[in-house]
């Protein structure tokens, strides 16, 4: 998407990505109020750094700001709440490796339970969750996801692989509500 660098266009480009921004923030920070604050803060940041936008993919540029704002908020919260929080941007904090093979049909049945699916995704480490959200919900390419998360394409590939494998075992092991 090439963009005329006038404020009007910039603003409508921002608003066009609002759903994607909110969805990403909501999946990263886990609650409605924080997600809305993150999106608003990210929009203002984007507006202020509009002159540093160098053309190219606007969506990736903006979602990177949303993503970084989300992680900043999580870190801030973690620091203020002491040790009593879940893991944040900690790629090393994966669940125990689960090499078990599950029946795809069983996975499909359990993932039809939206509540269970939501809780399972929410339990994934943040960087794996982020990769899954950007890939499956926004349909971004590995290249775009790498740009947003600031990692090489190979890392995107392994995060998606780990994210999907862990999600499978979470779905199979978590209690239904």
């Amino acid at each position: 998407m090439s963009l005329d660098p006038t404020i009007g266009n910039f603003e409508s480009a921002l608003l066009a990505q609002l759903d994607a921004a909110h969805n990403l923030a909501r999946w990263l920070v886990h609650n409605d109020q924080d997600a809305q604050d993150v999106v608003q803060e990210a929009c203002i940041k984007a507006l202020r750094s509009a002159n540093s936008y160098r053309g190219g993919d606007f969506r990736s540029w903006f979602l990177a700001i949303v993503r970084n704002t989300s992680f900043t908020l999580l870190t801030r919260k973690k620091n203020s709440q002491g040790s009593n929080t879940q893991q944040i941007q900690d790629a090393g904090n994966d669940l125990a490796a689960d090499s078990e093979l599950y029946d795809p049909q069983e996975i499909a049945i359990r993932s039809a339970d939206a509540d269970l699916l939501r809780r399972a995704i929410a339990s994934l480490p943040a960087v794996l969750r982020e990769a899954l959200v950007l890939r499956e919900m926004e349909g971004l390419s590995y290249k775009e996801i790498g740009k947003i998360a600031g990692v090489p394409i190979g890392t995107v590939m392994s995060r998606l692989a780990r994210g999907r494998t862990q999600l499978q075992s979470l779905l199979m092991k978590m209690e239904k509500a």
């Binding site: 609002l18 759903d19 202020r48 160098r54 190219g56 699916l117 919900m137």
Partner: protein, 259 residues
């Protein structure tokens, strides 16, 4: 391909992010291997599950209006406050107007110069990134062939231009294949050559250009025009040999398409 190798690549496979040759190897393996088939199937089930709209969080309606207001407030805050007190309105004097106009021209001119220089630098950075990516991932080649008559027709239908393809193996720069690449949302051709252990990516798209050289992150880049195409050669090869490659490429008669 073994099951272990497939295990490593199967998510990139279901995401359609593998080069054609590797994807094909996986497709050849799957019919004979129930375990790998189940894993591919499970990955697809997970993909579909996460993509379902019921678990998406669209922006609430009031967030949209809240943000529009915040943007408006931000714009007003960044616009200087109008001068309503009795200070001198400099801009009302003709000479001051001229001076302001001249200053504006200067500013706009330098912004223009800076931005064009920036976009050139951006392009170089993107080409180097693309070169590096082609080395690290399995995405070096889409069509693997040392035959220019295979590589050139492969691009037909994938690009709206036909890049010049030559094999320089006689001269010590064997052609090893081609790849589709992307630069500023434009599809471009990449030809891959080898020189001993070094890889040369030659990026090609239509346009006019002048010769130029650059160095970035230890990679050498040479730009030239060939048959109405802009060409960038990128490699860790030394400047002398890369220049030799460019000269040889320009001298060669490209393959005529053979069906």
């Amino acid at each position: 391909m073994t099951c272990a190798e497939i295990d490593r690549l199967l998510h990139a496979y279901v995401d359609d992010e593998l080069d054609i040759a590797t994807a094909l190897q996986i497709e050849l393996h799957l019919p004979g291997c129930a375990k790998c088939r189940a894993q591919v199937e499970a990955a697809r089930v997970i993909k579909t599950a996460v993509a379902q709209p019921t678990i998406y969080f669209p922006a609430p309606a009031d967030l949209r209006s809240r943000i529009q207001k915040a943007i408006l407030a931000e714009k007003q805050a960044s616009t200087p406050v109008e001068n309503s007190t009795g200070t001198i309105h400099l801009w009302r004097r003709p000479i001051a107007r001229l001076a302001i106009a001249a200053m504006l021209l200067l500013v706009i001119g330098s912004i223009y110069l800076l931005s064009t220089r920036d976009s050139g630098q951006n392009q170089i950075a993107e080409l180097v990134d693309s070169h590096v990516r082609s080395l690290e991932a399995s995405h070096l080649l889409d069509v693997e062939s040392t035959d220019q008559h295979t590589v050139k027709p492969w691009f037909a239908g994938k690009l709206n231009f036909s890049p010049p393809v030559v094999d320089l193996s006689q001269e010590g720069f064997p052609l090893i294949g081609g790849r589709l690449d992307c630069l500023n949302q434009q599809k471009i051709a990449a030809l891959i050559f080898r020189r001993n252990k070094h890889t040369i990516n030659l990026f090609i798209w239509p346009g006019e250009t002048s010769a130029a050289t650059d160095t970035k992150q230890g990679f050498n880049l040479i730009r030239f025009e060939c048959k109405g195409m802009i060409c960038w050669a990128v490699s860790d090869l030394n400047t002398g040999e890369l220049q030799q490659f460019v000269e040889l490429f320009q001298q060669q008669k490209p393959a005529s398409t053979r069906n």
